[in-house]
């Protein structure tokens, strides 16, 4: 890992930014004890990581090369068979496509809504109290646990529900739309629910970013005769760029792991219309009791996540 440098005048925010500490070696006699001290402080963490992370990852990779793991006493080494089975399963391909759509659309919409709301909230024309009130309302969707979001939208989107009534009154839809059980509508609908529940995270970070942009940059742009749109293009967006990229990568990682929302709204259905990598990997062991193939699928998901994480860490290093 390359050494990252701490920008001057900013408090370090991450463990990765620890400034060099003078080695504490005041009394020579306590040499070994001193050297062991930090490891003693770290030991609970290290034990937990070994048990909860290292061992499970080794186990799941191991499982993925055997058949009938966990459910049977005897299991045989089958090489890459489980992987072949996963990668040639048309449902897996469908899950991959669905996850791609779900993640792509969610992240783009989170960004667009988050930015729009952050710009509105940041308007200098607002009184402080009005701003605080609106900000509270805008953050609300993010404060509900996914289970609550799921049942709430199942009620709102019920064929007899208030969404159909409202859209019907506007003449936008005709009759009782089956938002979550129509195979053509289910995927866009769960994506919409995810957009509703996730944009505040973007918004809060972008709002903090907007407030950190030096005012004199706008002054300079105005002196040069830049319009509001030109100021946005040439000052606001470039200044927010690092935050936007970090947030987008994080959002891709989190959204691709979304399970509870899908599981509680459609369960991956109707048929495979909303099957995601997470629900696919969950069903194999806990509905079909195939832990071996599920392990192969879990390892594929892990590999994809690691690629994203490496991208994220690279971007963070470049920022420092």
């Amino acid at each position: 890992m390359s050494q990252s440098t701490v920008p001057k005048g900013r408090a370090p925010v991450g463990a990765g930014d620890v400034p060099p500490t003078p080695v504490l070696r005041r009394r020579g006699s306590a040499g070994l004890g001193r050297r062991a001290t930090p490891y003693a402080f770290l030991s609970p963490t290290l034990v937990l990581i070994a048990v909860l992370m290292a061992a499970p990852v080794v186990l799941v990779v191991g499982y993925s090369f055997f058949d009938r793991v966990i459910t049977a006493r005897q299991s045989q080494f089958v090489g890459l068979d489980n992987y072949l089975q996963v990668l040639t399963d048309p449902v897996f391909t469908r899950a991959l496509e669905n996850t791609g759509f779900f993640v792509g659309a969610s992240v783009l919409a989170h960004f667009a809504l988050g930015l729009a709301f952050a710009l509105l909230l940041n308007s200098p024309l607002l009184a402080g109290r009005v701003r605080a009130l609106f900000r509270l309302v805008y953050i609300l969707p993010w404060l509900f646990t996914t289970a609550i979001t799921a049942v709430l939208w199942r009620m709102l989107l019920n064929p007899n529900g208030v969404v159909n009534y409202g859209l019907g009154a506007l003449g936008a839809v005709d009759g009782q739309v089956e938002w979550l059980s129509d195979p053509r509508l289910a995927l866009p609908t769960v994506t919409f629910i995810n957009i509703w529940s996730g944009y505040p995270f973007f918004m809060v970070s972008l709002l903090a970013g907007l407030q950190g942009i030096p005012k004199d940059l706008y002054e300079a742009a105005r002196v040069d005769g830049a319009s509001a749109w030109q100021q946005f293009r040439s000052v606001t967006l470039p200044q927010l760029r690092p935050i936007i990229i970090s947030m987008a990568l994080l959002d891709v990682i989190w959204t691709s792991q979304q399970f509870a929302l899908i599981w509680m709204t459609t369960g991956g259905g109707p048929v495979d219309a909303t099957e995601m990598l997470s629900t696919y990997t969950y069903k194999l062991p806990f509905a079909d009791f195939d832990f071996a193939v599920a392990s192969a699928s879990a390892v594929v998901v892990l590999a994809l996540s690691l690629v994203l994480a490496v991208l994220y860490v690279r971007h963070q290093k470049a920022r420092d």
Binding site: M1, P12, F41, P44, L120, L143, V313
Partner: protein, 300 residues
């Protein structure tokens, strides 16, 4: 609407012999109306579903899908809430959630404080590598861990118990807690603990007597965020518990969906009650909350 109309006509009306500042002021006013209009549309998008949840929790179940829909109905009552409070099975969901979330929060604070102290105040071999290990733990998706956890938790005899949940939750609360606490300790001047060490105090005494008391804001940030993550957790709670009396609130809400018919009003009441702890934490610790949220996001 009236305000908008007036603004529109006002802007369009010819204004002879206007003072130089007047156009500017007029422009500013129409701009403000645009901003407020945008904010109101957004607030409806964000807030109306939540308002409908609250309103539905006071309805009779038969009125949930009445047409035309109404915010306050004839059947307005606290029946859904009293039914939850008088049912030990449903109350148990809340007890379970509180027990697990509080235990996870306390353990996370303890373990992360110790680790953060080492990262912040010591230089030692493999420090960077260990740091990278802690950070990379966050990149592993929960669904990947689920299969081995199932075997592990059953093997340790922790299936369907509180310790099984608490232990597994630590895997996703610890990494960012350590990162946040280290960041916080780094902002505290080293001279403080150096002075105490000169007096011959051990590292634990230094941590406990000097750093802990002044780290309270950092610990509140970490604690609030941890509690929320644990309170909201779904996947492990679904898989690592089995009996109804061990289920947490998120699973309990789902269980209401399965039984006999859908008791929508009770599900909404349960959602309101389930959201209250997080809403209260947010209301009281908003500043810490945002700090935690963005700090967690800045670095994995």
């Amino acid at each position: 609407m009236a305000v908008l109309d007036r603004a529109a006509t006002g802007a369009a009306a010819p204004a002879p012999q206007r003072r130089p500042g007047a156009t500017r002021r007029r422009q500013e006013r129409s701009h403000r109306i645009l901003v407020l209009g945008g904010l109101l549309v957004g607030a409806c998008f964000a807030g109306l579903p939540v308002l409908w949840m609250l309103s539905s929790s006071f309805k009779a179940n038969s009125e949930i899908f009445q047409s035309p829909p109404r915010l306050v109905t004839e059947g307005f009552s606290l029946a859904a809430y009293t039914s939850i409070f008088s049912d030990p099975t449903k109350l148990r969901f809340f007890v379970n959630s509180y027990v697990v979330a509080i235990a996870v929060t306390l353990l996370t604070l303890l373990v992360s404080l110790l680790a953060a102290y080492a990262f912040s105040r010591y230089e030692f071999p493999f420090k960077r590598s260990l740091n990278v290990v802690v950070i990379s733990v966050q990149a592993v998706p929960p669904i990947t861990l689920l299969i081995p956890y199932f075997g592990l938790v059953v093997g340790l005899g922790l299936y369907n118990t509180y310790p099984g949940l608490v232990l597994t939750y630590l895997v996703f609360t610890l990494p960012y807690a350590i990162i946040m606490m280290t960041g916080y300790l780094n902002t505290l001047p080293r001279e403080l603990d150096e002075a105490v060490k000169m007096d011959g105090a051990g590292p634990l005494t230094t941590l406990w007597r000097i750093l802990v008391p002044i780290s309270v804001p950092g610990m509140v940030s970490v604690g609030v965020y941890t509690f929320m993550l644990a309170w909201n957790e779904y996947l492990f709670a679904l898989t690592l518990t089995r009996t109804t009396d061990m289920r947490t609130v998120p699973i309990g809400i789902q269980l209401l969906m399965g039984q006999h018919s859908y008791e929508w009003n009770e599900m909404m009441a349960m959602s309101v009650l389930g959201a209250i702890p997080v809403l209260l934490l947010f209301a009281f610790f908003q500043r810490f909350f945002m700090g935690g949220m963005t700090a967690g996001a800045v670095k994995i």
